[in-house]
């Protein structure tokens, strides 16, 4: 076996290895392009998170815009806090009155976070981004004296809806039946 032939065959072997890695990285795993996007973080307090898991998707109308980064118990209030990693392009777009709820996909499916966004007003978006606020008199929020802020990194979502727990639902149903 001359050495040139061996070199070619070894080159083929290494090439196959690299090709296999590329295939696994791009075709099998979600990373590569989508996995390492820039995100910003929001926190949300819930009463009960059901069986929400870290890495669960965060959806707006079914479209994934981020993933659950971490779940922990608030050290003073003892309620679960979920940190959300959301795509950077949505930073300063949602108002702080945005509602977030824990939903279930299908009957037995995974739980995910559904966001029903309230779009932040022009002026609060600008102040959130650190730009000079262009004065506009026709801003409805300011007319009614409501002060809404746009959500940026580290903010807390207040309007949350907990997961539905089947036992509680059944309990409530039986209680109502008994009352009739």
């Amino acid at each position: 076996m001359n050495s040139r032939k061996i070199e070619i065959l070894v080159g083929l072997f290494v090439f196959l290895g690299v090709a296999a890695f590329t295939m696994l990285a791009l075709k099998v795993a979600n990373a590569g392009i989508g996995g390492s996007k820039e995100t910003f973080e929001l926190n949300a307090k819930f009463d009960n998170i059901g069986s929400l898991k870290v890495r669960a998707p965060i959806k707006v109308g079914g479209v994934v815009i981020g993933r659950v980064e971490n779940i922990f118990v608030d050290p003073t209030l003892y309620v679960p806090v979920v940190s959300l990693a959301i795509d950077k392009q949505y930073e300063c777009k949602f108002a702080d009155t945005t509602n977030v709820s824990i939903l279930t996909s299908g009957i037995l499916g995974e739980q995910y976070l559904g966001i029903s966004p309230v779009i932040a007003s022009e002026s609060s978006q600008q102040s959130c981004l650190g730009q000079a606020v262009a004065q506009s008199s026709d801003d409805l929020d300011e007319l009614f004296g409501v002060e809404s802020k746009a959500l940026k990194h580290g903010d807390m979502l207040r309007d949350t809806k907990s997961a539905l727990v089947l036992e509680e639902l059944i309990g409530q149903f039986l209680f109502n039946q008994g009352g009739e």
Binding site: I6, L9, V14, A20, K27, A31
Partner: protein
């Protein structure tokens, strides 16, 4: 009674001496590389022997293991109407466990035993001593290229194994059993992560490569230089490295995948 203690002590000391010799050999070959210009052709030759020649067995067994996983997974999942989850089932079990472990076991049988037998015969026919007589360090010239060849080829082989097995599962699951090809890939992509699954599997196979190649080379280098000794060393290589791989796999899995 004294005799028993004597034998016990001798065996223990022998084991420690063996570990010491093995470590000496490992360090001697790792940090004692021949210069790149002379060493590289030796490495390429060993990559051919150890890596390229193992390709066939790795790819064929990968294909069949992927196909079997898909068949078995399908029969269970279809009862729950969850046959679309076949993709992540196959991909995760391959990338995390089967890819590195089965590759290491096959590698121990295919390449490890060959390394032990080759070096054992070199020792029996006194080729290693003659190298030393010519002031060539056998660790440098014989052991180091083989060690690095094993260390480089095993992760590549494990990757090829997983890739071929996933294609085999696709063949059975999508082409024969009729799972939708789009959901096969997209659910797989949603569940498998590059850092957590693929890179951890790669780290596993690097550890296995180190252990299997080390055991194979040490058994050959340290064997009793008779035909009986070589046969014993070859058997020990396969048995010890298979057990070491399976044991280490449990430890690594416990460290990597338990949150």
């Amino acid at each position: 009674m004294m005799d028993l203690f004597q034998r016990l002590g001798r065996t223990t000391l022998d084991k420690f001496a063996a570990i010491g010799r093995a470590t000496q050999m490992l360090l001697g070959s790792l940090f004692n590389l021949p210069n790149p210009r002379k060493g590289f052709p030796l490495l390429v030759r060993q990559l051919y022997m150890v890596g390229h020649q193992s390709l066939l067995i790795i790819m064929v067994s990968g294909l069949f293991i992927g196909m079997v996983l898909a068949l078995q997974g399908y029969t269970v999942l279809v009862d729950y109407g969850a046959e679309d989850s076949l993709g992540p089932l196959v991909a995760l079990s391959l990338l995390r466990e089967l890819g590195p472990v089965v590759t290491a076991l096959l590698f121990a049988g295919r390449a490890g035993s060959a390394l032990t037998a080759e070096i054992g015969l070199m020792k029996a026919t006194e080729q290693l001593s003659s190298l030393e007589m010519m002031a060539v360090d056998p660790l440098k010239r014989i052991i180091a290229p083989r060690f690095w060849a094993g260390f480089i080829s095993m992760p590549l082989l494990a990757l090829i194994f997983s890739a071929v097995a996933i294609l085999g599962a696709h063949l059975v699951g999508v082409d024969w059993l009729g799972i939708d090809t789009g959901s096969f890939w997209s659910i797989m992509q949603a569940q498998v992560s590059l850092e957590k699954d693929i890179l951890n599997g790669l780290i596993k196979s690097l550890v296995f490569a180190l252990v299997v190649t080390w055991i194979a080379l040490y058994k050959g280098y340290d064997c009793i230089p008779t035909s009986e000794g070589i046969s014993k060393a070859t058997t020990e290589t396969v048995v010890h490295s298979s057990l070491a791989v399976l044991g280490l796999d449990f430890v690594l899995t416990a460290v990597m995948f338990s949150n």
